[in-house]
Symmetry: C2
Subunit: 403 residues, 2 copies
DNA sequence: ATGAAAGCGCTAACAT
DNA sequence: ATGTTAGCGCTTTCAT
């Protein structure tokens, strides 16, 4: 190995100038095909790779995108984050980007991390997860003009974001039924925003990818209704979380559409198994003034809650006295390994597609719209992906024993 | 913002030469304290950050370490990988290193990824997970002299690696009982290898960090023995996996030490819930020629198997005839969210420490042993960590309802 | 202890 | 379509 193979080595080997080699790499159309091939052969033979450092120095761009990995249990995590990260890495690679990780506890610390990442490493862009109303991070990034995409829609900028839970009713989805990969982006007129100026609402109008939670809980609820249940309960998180409200809304919409009265059918608790169990016990024991019994099925905002509910449901089925009540159906959300393990029907987020969407959106920002083709990776024949800045994906209901 | 803040800006501001600024950053001891402070103040005021690209170009080092993120379900994954990655990122940052992700399916593809990462990005080192006997990756890296650490000991090079499961008996550990952070590295003489030449066994002698699985299953088994169980069964993976044999060994050692005959007490099946359940049913129904009943407790090589066993145990407890047998205790391995959710006692790997260990070992390789202090991060007063190239960490038994 | 000079490998701008 | 020039920001000699 006699020293590094540089562009000069290649140029010499192919008997062209260094600039021509550079052109073959960065602007092949400028080079005559014949020369181009000769250069490419030389690159191949010599095993040449461009030095990212040198390129970065010249262009100011690192071809690195960053994503935060929080401590376990913080926001999107566990196998969910794992799958998302894998999707990001896989989608970024073909476009020549790499994913780097960073940690931060709290928005302020995260902004400090941005300064560092941007200042020292010339990071090209960020993928943010766990965005929330009043998020200081998005403001900061937007103000600086740093390219970023969020996984999680911009709830602030979109006070009425119920694209998916709105008009069209979700059809039943079993595991066997394939889901159009990128078709999830609803074709609502609200989504065609490319004509709008860049910075509306103080930079709030950034690209995002999200999963239509309401659609998921609606599909879950409709499945239970179709199975003959009428009083379908809901166990969700305390009011205040946008994601939580979204998931609740799908359930509510489905019941309203079926003409079922919602009152007394829901509980809002913290996202823990024990809380879910308590809420379910409470709900299942309900008998109102008219003698109406509690729910016969439960839709939950998470697998944790659903797992608790499942325990309560099992206990309920084998109540004292030995009378076996008909089984209480339970459906969870997120399709975590826990759900798989215990046979819990659950709403599964298309994380790979979400990740690919984030990368595609981000790269469009970075490369200035040339790489449109990247959005078509899954080949779902969706020719007109151009210009869209938001992607709302449909989850999938994975049916198992529990419902 | 009038252009980038470079070392020249700082030099000018602090009225020193550029070189002095560089020295303040890279070799502070060379600069008179008074000058040093002036320069540091200037750096602070101007918000200067070194350009990694420029530095990298000069030094050939990127301060980037790479780790693979496989598709879900592949090897170490789910929340386990998640926690490990977080630990890596967190440990690498203070030493000035960043973690970049890559994917690859299969060893060959992974080697191709190395070429790319090394050639284009000047990656400084790798953390490998899921190593296996005959691993082509470690050979490749070792042959090229690329610094790397594996999470998972080098089974090939160490045919008798039972440091932890050997002599000393694990004491009982409850969740409340804290575990020395870095004390896990067993002080067995086998570990003091710094005197040995670098490349023994064809480069097989690379640094690694691992968790003492045998210790974990032994602790689990001893806990059950202490609770009065005698016939403690084991459900493990099919022979052939080094990790699987290690975990089995801990169980076997504990039973042997207690004078219990192992025969008829184990089943080896694929790592799936259903298989675990089947195996447990099988085991629990056993009655041998002498009329000895099946096991009264089960130690499992994974939480998946344990979950299945737990189901079988519950069913066994409420056998037809209504006679409530005494409850079958079950202990799993990995302390996954599933275990937490269902109240399964499980052996928990110290992933944060493992990650920190990987980073410390790798950085020692990279920075040539100057950064010894990094190993002491947890401040456990273990002054003499220097030179150790292997870290065998003790897991922790997290006690819950199931055992 | 501090300063001056050189050059890492690349690409943008400007020739040809 | 191809070649020439310059310089990105840093650190490593070497000199003072």
């Amino acid at each position: 190995m006699a020293g590094r193979v540089t562009i000069a080595t290649v140029a010499h080997h192919a008997r062209v100038s260094r600039q021509t080699v550079s052109n073959v790499i960065n602007a092949p159309q400028l080079v005559r095909p014949e020369t181009r091939e000769r250069v490419r052969a030389a690159i191949e033979v010599l095993g040449y790779r461009v030095s990212q450092a040198a390129r970065q120095m010249r262009t100011g761009r690192s071809r690195l995108i960053a994503v935060r990995i929080g401590p376990a249990g913080d926001g999107i995590n566990g196998s969910v984050l794992d799958r998302f990260l894998h999707g990001l890495t896989e989608a970024a690679a073909p476009a020549g980007y790499r994913v780097v990780l960073y940690t931060a506890t709290g928005d302020d610390a995260e902004i400090a991390a941005y300064e560092e990442l941007l200042g020292a490493h010339d990071l090209d862009g960020f993928v943010l997860t766990g965005t929330h109303p009043g998020d200081a991070r998005t403001d900061w990034l937007a103000r600086r003009g740093v390219p970023f995409v969020t996984f999680g829609r911009n709830w602030e900028a979109q006070p009425e974001p119920v694209f998916g839970g709105g008009e069209h009713s979700p059809t039943q989805h079993s595991k066997a039924q394939p889901e159009p990969a990128f078709g999830g982006g609803e074709h609502s007129p609200t989504l065609n925003r490319e004509a709008q100026p860049e910075a509306v609402l103080g930079g709030g109008e950034h690209p995002w990818v999200d999963v239509d939670g309401a659609w998921g809980t609606r599909a879950a609820t409709e499945r239970l209704l179709a199975a003959g249940h009428r009083r379908v309960g809901f166990i969700g998180w305390p009011p205040g979380s946008a994601v939580g409200e979204d998931r609740r809304e799908g359930w509510a919409a489905a019941l309203r559409a079926a003409g079922v009265d919602l009152s007394g059918l829901e509980r809002r608790v913290d996202d823990r198994v024990a809380e879910g169990e308590r809420a379910a016990v409470d709900l299942l024991g309900t008998v109102d003034l008219l003698g109406t019994a509690g729910p016969s099925a439960l839709v939950c905002a998470s697998d944790s809650l659903a797992l608790g509910a499942l325990r309560a449901a099992t206990a309920h089925g084998t109540a004292p006295g030995g009378i076996a009540s008909p089984r209480i159906a339970v459906i969870g959300f997120d399709d975590t390994p826990v759900a798989q393990a215990v046979g819990l029907t659950s709403v599964s987020q298309p994380l790979t597609e979400a990740a690919a969407g984030c990368v595609a959106l981000l790269i469009r920002l970075l490369d200035g719209g040339d790489h449109d083709g990247d959005l078509d990776r899954e080949g779902e024949g969706e020719g007109d992906s151009g210009g869209r800045r938001h992607l709302l994906l449909r989850p999938r209901l994975v049916v198992r024993d529990s419902g």
